[in-house]
């Protein structure tokens, strides 16, 4: 009698645990989590990408959101990228050159450039909820983490009609990574990232990265709206809206030089 009660209790607990995990379906066998992560990265970045975007930073401190317009050249193959700020007027012409693991910045108003030290990587980038690290380290989501397929989410939150692989990223022991764990929702058909949740080493969820407005560009299903919400800062969020994106265009070598930083466009 007692044994049966215990078994019933265990079964109930098991059901509760399954419900808590967002009712994931088991993934079909033969799927490689790392391969899914790689295809997500390919969809998002390509070998080379040029984009124009508007970043909107919302904060309880600001009477109206801070709007930053920018252009970016991303040469993923050579692990380097370049960003030029176009607006607001105060920041116009500011440039960022990333050459992993270095990050240079140029401020035209004072005509000076600076190499941002590694200790500053977790500081906010341009006042947004993205960090300097987000600019420099993106591609290491493949190299610095172990990947595990948790299952398939048949109905990701707010995404009608989509199914997503749920992949857990855990950093390698010696990887220069600040997150304890990242959980990523990756759409099953086109491998578009839908959502990433970032946890610290104690398992506390710190921020949520959501990707939406998926439109087809050069055969890729590319999200045109990226939004980052830190969970420890109430009322803060940053939305990056991409107006134009072109993949695999040839770049001038001169783009990724410190000299280009100082050029007035």
């Amino acid at each position: 009698m007692r044994g049966r009660a215990a078994a019933a209790l265990l079964a109930a607990l098991g059901l509760a645990a399954a419900a808590g995990a967002g009712e994931l379906l088991p993934a079909p066998p033969g799927l490689d989590a790392r391969e899914i992560a790689r295809r997500q990265e390919d969809t998002l970045r390509g070998e080379r990408a040029y984009l124009e975007a508007t970043m909107t930073v919302t904060s309880p401190r600001l009477p109206r959101p801070r709007v930053v317009r920018l252009r970016s050249w991303d040469d993923r193959l050579n692990r380097r990228s370049f960003i030029r700020i176009l607006a607001p007027p105060k920041d116009e012409g500011t440039g960022f050159l990333m050459q992993r693991p270095n990050l240079w910045m140029y401020v035209p108003r004072v005509e000076r450039s600076m190499r941002i030290p590694p200790s500053m990587m977790l500081q906010s980038w341009m006042g947004s909820d993205f960090t300097n690290d987000d600019l420099v380290r993106e591609s290491s989501q493949l190299d610095d983490y172990d990947h595990r397929l948790l299952g398939i989410d048949p109905a990701p939150e707010g995404r009608d009609g989509l199914r997503a692989y749920v992949v857990e990223f855990r950093p390698h022991e010696d990887a220069p990574v600040v997150w304890g764990r990242i959980v990523s929702w990756i759409e099953t058909e086109h491998h578009t990232a839908l959502r990433q949740e970032f946890y610290d080493e104690e398992g506390v969820k710190l921020r949520v990265f959501e990707l939406g407005d998926i439109r087809e560009v050069q055969g890729r299903h590319f999200p045109h709206r990226w939004s980052m919400t830190p969970l420890d800062k109430e009322g803060h969020s940053t939305v990056l809206e991409i107006h134009e994106i072109r993949f695999d265009e040839a770049f001038d070598e001169g783009v990724f030089t410190t000299r280009n930083l100082k050029r007035e466009d």
């Binding site: 004072v110 600076m114 500081q123």
Partner: protein, 406 residues
């Protein structure tokens, strides 16, 4: 009672040499205790004073959450209300508002992270010794966009007086904060971490740089002395309302710990000293009781109650200690007061050791009321404990045995 007292006084001096030696030992112990406790009090007061004057003040008043987070998001508004509270507060020697933020500073390309502190040069002088620690150049405030750096920081940057440095950070308004600052002064700070990271600009420049309005990160307050800090903190807490106030003991827990350990070491030595004195008193009283066996026996035989004999012997012990105590205090207190008025300047190795800890190389004394009061209670307590055995022995004697003995 006056009779007993007179009797006790005469008994104490029946052997002047023995009693004199015992009193001398007590005097010596009392003088040492008062002197060393005064020296430790002076040293600790000086350590606290020098530490709080380096930077923190006796207490800081800051926005809720600043102590834990230390970002621009926690602030207080330095408005008329707060100014009034600080001006009116009693026991405040000085107060200085500060804006504290994080910045990146570079001369060429490589940047160093700095603790950027905006200070009001006039007010800052009333709290901290930062302006006195200039090694070369001048302090902030004379020209706009001037910056003063710790010596190691300046060296790490390769910056010299007159250089234009690029200061970069994020403003409170989330805008980019970037400007050129001229290096006008270099400070030598005894705290290595500060020396490597502290950069000072004027409060007005900092509020403009960080787009911070009339906000400040903290107001550092200097009280009359370390002991008065808690009282000032309590008064401000009642007055100020929505602020966070921390006293030096919270700002510098390692200093509190050092003082505790230092005191503990000193008290162990003093306890040993006092125990030796106790045995001296015990010896004197016990000897005098033993050689008066017959006399005390006669008193008991004549009908003096044992209680009275006990009291008599007890009184003798307290008189002995009391004389020593009074003489000791009469020497010790002026001695400490004299040294308090005439601090000793140190030179050579000792001076270097003091400077290593960021202290002025000076030995000072301080007489706190607790020092003589504590000494008196200790010595009288010790005398009382030491007299217990001889007094019991004297009052329990059987007259027959006493009369039969020599």
């Amino acid at each position: 009672m006056p009779l007993e007292l007179r009797l006790a006084w005469r008994n104490v001096w029946r052997n002047p040499r023995r009693t004199g030696l015992s009193v001398a030992a007590t005097v010596f112990a009392v003088v040492l205790v008062v002197f060393f406790v005064g020296m430790a009090a002076g040293l600790h007061e000086k350590m606290i004073e020098d530490s709080v004057r380096l930077h923190s003040g006796h207490l800081t008043l800051s926005g809720p959450g600043y102590f834990a987070n230390r970002t621009l998001a926690q602030y207080v508004r330095l408005d008329e209300g707060l100014r009034g509270v600080l001006e009116r507060a009693e026991g405040v020697r000085g107060w200085a508002p500060r804006v504290i933020g994080f910045g990146l500073l570079s001369k060429e390309t490589d940047a160093q992270g700095v603790a950027l502190m905006g200070v009001d040069p006039e007010r800052e002088r009333t709290v901290s010794s930062l302006a006195d620690r200039l090694q070369r150049g001048s302090f902030v405030g004379e020209q706009p966009r001037a910056i003063v750096l710790g010596e190691r920081l300046a060296r790490n940057l390769g910056a010299h007086l007159g250089d234009e440095l690029f200061l970069y950070s994020q403003a409170w308004s989330l805008e980019t904060a970037a400007d050129l600052y001229t290096l006008v002064g270099v400070m030598k700070l005894p705290d290595v971490t500060l020396d490597r990271s502290l950069a000072l600009i004027s409060l007005a420049d900092a509020q403009e740089f960080f787009v911070y309005g009339d906000r400040v990160s903290e107001v550092a307050v200097l009280a009359e002395d370390a002991d008065a800090a808690a009282g000032v903190a309590a008064a401000l807490r009642g007055d100020a309302g929505a602020f966070e106030i921390h006293t030096w003991s919270e700002l510098m827990p390692e200093l509190v710990q050092f003082i505790f350990l230092d005191d503990a070491g000193m008290y162990v030595l003093l306890v040993i000293l006092v125990v030796v004195v106790a045995f001296g008193i015990l010896n004197t009283i016990l000897m005098s009781v033993l050689e008066r066996t017959r006399e005390l026996g006669v008193l008991l035989a004549l009908g003096l109650p044992p209680r009275a004999v006990f009291r008599l012997v007890y009184l003798e012990s307290l008189l002995l200690a009391g004389v020593g105590l009074l003489l000791g205090l009469a020497i010790g207190i002026p001695l400490v007061l004299w040294f308090a008025a005439h601090p000793i300047s140190l030179a050579g190795r000792m001076a270097e050791a003091y400077e290593l800890f960021g202290m002025e190389p000076v030995m000072t004394w301080k007489l706190k009321p607790l020092n003589p009061i504590g000494s008196a209670i200790t010595i009288l307590g010790v005398a009382a404990a030491a007299a217990l055995y001889p007094a019991v022995k004297a009052s329990r004697g059987r007259p027959v045995d006493a009369l039969r003995s020599l």
